[in-house]
């Protein structure tokens, strides 16, 4: 199980972005982490994967543990070796490498050739489109194929927990469905998933549990089904609110409704 407890992250020594974030990802589950732009979702993932360094960020408080092992001060390579792999926001495939070579980078931490071969076959099974373009330069793949490659590359590291940062971003509805089904497949093979999404409907439809985050901390959490039925979530994330075009914060919505309720 992955556990974040009261995590605080500061960028450039002054910008406090995570303000006591606490989430849990139990083994075998899909957990969705939702939130508006700038809520700090990507920052949370950087904290988990040890990737704050290149962004001048540090964890100033709290702890991140995986199966009881503290990850706070580990190097990214150690974290990957502990079984956590991240599919970064914006896919970030290596564009001038071939599809196969991208997959090799994903399997860098696995020393056993037979296991690498098994992972490779599994990826090719999961993504027949990639199999067709194995020797092709990754930069020429379509957006959807690049996302598949990014996920396949992450699977090459044999993760026990797969973290995905907005995998549906910029994809057509049909492809989003495909990616969603693939995430379910991967989960069925025994991999836990932490899924970040703007597309709350998609995320909650496959998740066991969901968190809603705003300005660096969790403002709501619960069973995915419950969240999906929740009026506030519906209104703000699923775009089902009727009245205004003006963008409101999730808390504003809540506050406003609460006041209305009190008033009546």
């Amino acid at each position: 199980m992955l556990e974040l407890a009261n995590v605080e992250v500061v960028y450039n020594e002054v910008i406090l972005v995570l303000r006591g974030l606490s989430i849990e990802v139990p083994d075998g589950q899909i957990v969705a982490l939702l939130g508006a732009n700038g809520a700090g979702k990507t920052t949370s993932l950087r904290a988990i994967s040890g990737l704050l360094g290149p962004h001048e960020g540090v964890i100033t408080k709290g702890s991140i543990t995986y199966d009881g092992k503290k990850l706070n001060d580990l190097k990214p390579s150690d974290i990957v070796e502990s079984g956590i792999t991240q599919v970064m926001e914006g896919r970030r495939i290596f564009k001038d490498l071939t599809v196969d070579e991208n997959l090799v980078t994903g399997g860098f931490t696995v020393k056993d050739k037979a296991r690498t071969k098994a992972s490779y076959d599994r990826v090719m099974d999961l993504f027949p489109r990639l199999a067709e373009r194995r020797k092709g330069i990754a930069g020429y793949l379509s957006g959807g194929e690049q996302q598949m490659l990014a996920i396949g590359r992450a699977l090459m590291a044999e993760p026990k927990l797969l973290i995905l940062d907005e995998p549906s971003l910029g994809l057509a509805p049909k492809l989003i469905e495909q990616i969603r089904d693939i995430i379910v497949d991967i989960n069925k093979q025994g991999v836990s998933v932490l899924l970040i999404e703007q597309n709350a409907m998609m995320a909650l439809s496959i998740a066991n549990y969901g968190y809603v985050m705003e300005t660096g901390k969790i403002v709501m959490d619960g069973d995915a089904k419950k969240l999906l039925a929740d009026d506030d979530v519906k209104e703000f994330y699923l775009g089902l609110h009727g009245d205004d075009s003006e963008k409101k914060s999730f808390r504003d919505v809540k506050h406003y409704k609460r006041r209305k309720r009190w008033a009546s």
């Binding site: 990737l51 360094g53 290149p54 990214p76 990957v80 792999t85 290596f94 991208n102 860098f108 931490t109």
Partner: protein, 363 residues
């Protein structure tokens, strides 16, 4: 209609190239027929010069591709590498100053020369050991001077490498001064004649060394570690997310770059670059002579390093051979300026180098 029009349109760059290359080609054809032996010798000499430049250029490219740093200490690394070779094969000793000897040199005899091998084999083994030491120096420099600078502006890192160049060169000069430091290659000073023209075996040794280096680099870039290195070059953070230890990748690039510099340094002591077969203060200059080759080829391209090296090397040798009648006008050192002239012409036509990636060159 529109396609035929665009076909007929010739860019300024292409026109410029034609204006430069057509007269040169005509001139060369005339020379070929007027004295084939001289022409052939000049070609072979060019290939040797180009090969040496290409080896040095490969070292630059290897380090640049991984770290995006132009390593200005490549010349000092070449000199130190050549010195190591010299220590191991000329003195047949490894000079060290242990802490107990109060600053006195306590040379360790190179055990390879006691194995009773044929001398060329002993030389070859010692050469490989020297490359290994040179690579260690590269690893060491990366660890102490470059690794702490990861994430800092690349310009600052480049300036640090310039500082390394100067300090290392001072150190190397001090040790080289002790006596004439010979590299004692098995082919040293030997060769054969074509007509009246003497051809050194070192020409061919340089070509073979360049070919081996190029193949080795190509194979390396196809290995798991090499692929990881290219990934690091493309996107450091994404590479880290795959669990690639970028510090170790940097170190390996520096180690390999230093070993290539050492090979280049060896050939910088021999014809066509130098007649003496000895390491001296000038050995480190070979990197600055090869720099136009790297920039012309494109800083991040293996093919570019080879082609750039060959073009620049040939231009230098051909100009030296056929323009020597104009020395009074051009000045005695004019062949050394030719690489830079060629580079500038090349950059006018292709601002990012022949094979350079535009995206990267913005740095």
């Amino acid at each position: 209609m529109s396609t035929s029009q665009s076909k007929r349109r010739i860019s300024n760059g292409a026109a410029f190239m034609i204006a430069v290359f057509v007269p040169i080609t005509i001139f060369l054809i005339v020379q070929l027929f007027s004295d084939p032996a001289v022409f052939l010798t000049t070609i072979l000499k060019s290939l040797a010069m180009g090969s040496t430049y290409a080896i040095i250029a490969l070292g630059f490219v290897l380090i640049f591709k991984a770290t995006e740093v132009v390593n200005f200490s490549q010349g000092a690394l070449a000199m130190i590498g050549a010195l190591f070779i010299s220590f191991l094969v000329a003195d047949e000793t490894i000079p060290i100053v242990p802490w107990w000897s109060e600053g006195n040199l306590v040379p360790i005899r190179n055990p390879i020369y006691d194995l009773g091998l044929p001398s060329w084999m002993a030389w070859g083994l010692s050469f490989i050991v020297a490359l290994f030491f040179a690579a260690l120096i590269g690893l060491f420099l990366e660890r102490v001077a470059i690794r702490p600078m990861i994430g800092q502006p690349l310009f600052s890192v480049a300036v640090i490498t310039l500082g390394l160049e100067i300090s290392l060169r001072v150190l190397a000069n001090d040790s080289a001064k002790l006596k004439l430091r010979n590299t004692n290659t098995p082919w040293s000073g030997k060769g054969f004649n074509i007509g009246d023209n003497f051809l050194y075996w070192s020409f061919f040794a340089a070509m073979i060394a360049a070919a081996i280096s190029v193949v080795a680099v190509f194979l390396f870039y196809r290995s798991k570690l090499g692929i990881a290195m290219r990934a690091v070059a493309r996107d450091q953070e994404a590479a880290m997310a795959q669990g690639i230890p970028i510090g170790r990748v940097f170190a390996i690039a520096w180690g390999a770059g230093a070993a290539l510099a050492a090979v280049g340094g060896l050939f910088a002591t021999e014809p066509p670059i130098k007649q003496t077969g000895a390491v001296d203060a000038e050995t480190s200059l070979v990197a600055f002579r090869a720099l136009p080759a790297v920039i012309l080829g494109g800083l991040d391209s293996v093919q570019g390093a080879i082609l750039g090296g060959l073009i620049v090397g040939s231009a230098e040798i051909f100009a030296g051979q056929y323009l020597s009648g104009y020395t009074s006008v051009l000045g005695a050192g004019y062949p050394l300026v030719i690489p830079y002239v060629v580079m500038i012409i090349g950059l006018i036509v292709k601002p990012y180098g022949l094979f350079g990636t535009e995206e990267i060159r913005r740095v």
